[in-house]
């Protein structure tokens, strides 16, 4: 983590855009801003100028805890051959969308 006293760049923020009412906010990129209000304003100009969204979230990148890329094999590969964990063996009624 950069020392705020000696830092010359504004902190980094992750930007999430909701493209339409009812859909989820999706991560779309990041930007530098001095605070949350500025981050929202900049996200509006950088990420929604082509009608991409109707709502914005910004999150300080430093607040995101990520899994270690070194743990990728251990974490994710074991799921590869567990096909029985997918609910693909059930016949869904047609009224149930988006499963």
């Amino acid at each position: 983590m950069t020392n705020p006293e000696t830092r010359t760049e504004w902190p980094l923020w992750e930007v999430f855009v909701r493209s339409r009412a009812g859909l989820d906010h999706k991560h779309c990129g990041s930007l530098h801003a001095a605070d949350a209000a500025m981050a929202i304003q900049m996200a509006r100009d950088v990420y929604t100028r082509r009608q991409e969204g109707c709502s914005l979230w910004v999150v300080p990148s430093a607040q995101i805890t990520a899994s270690d890329p070194g743990d990728k094999d251990m974490y994710f590969d074991p799921a590869e051959d567990k096909v029985y964990r997918h609910p693909t063996f059930y016949k869904l009624p047609s009224e149930v969308d988006h499963m």
Partner: protein, 255 residues
Amino acid sequence: MTASIQLQQDTATQYLLRLGDTCLILGQRLGEWCGHGPVLEEDIALTNMALDLIGQARALLSHAGAGQGLDEDQLAFLRDERDYRNPTLVELPRGDFAFTVQRNLMAATLLKLLWQRLQTSTDAELAAIAGKAVKEARYHQQHAADWVVRLGDGTAESARRSQAALAQLWRYVPELFDADAVDDAAAASGLGPRWADVQADWQAEVGAVLAEAGLQPPVGSAFRSTGKRGVHTEHMGHLLATMQHLQRAYPGGVW
């Protein structure tokens, strides 16, 4: 080289040109920030706003020229300097970032207040343009106000630059609200408000932002700029040369 157009300037046309040219010339000035913004995000924000303003100018100039068979490009690019009716404030060179956001605050507040009232214009097309533009102007005002406060209430250097910008810009404010025959005719016909009618609201809104920024407007002077009457500063010719040369050299050129 294409010759300049001749434009009949009755009071209604002049009223529309004041609005349209304010948007056009400020849009041109903001466009100059492209590639020069202090950070990438602001570079995009300033040019977004430039495009909003150019869009408003297109609609207004199309409307102003329609009765005389002139289109938006002819009005934007083929008029002589004296036929532009923007207040001097918006033609001043873009200055530093403090200057730019303060001028944006002044211009966006004026335009927002005008658009709000123009939505009930007796001119249906102008009312429709206003209905769309008022949302854009509200954002421009908010964006500018945010930066004016950050810079005015920021570091010693940003406060110094902000105070200097205010001292320079404040001289060009009185012109915005000088009423004349063009305004009177527009008010009488229901075309739109006198610009002077929004002065009290403008002073309240801009004054609140300046107070929050810790900036003190200089005392008024007797100086009056005259851009709205077509008499411009030496900066206008340079701006027009840059803006017009392509259309003058390649008439009707499109992309």
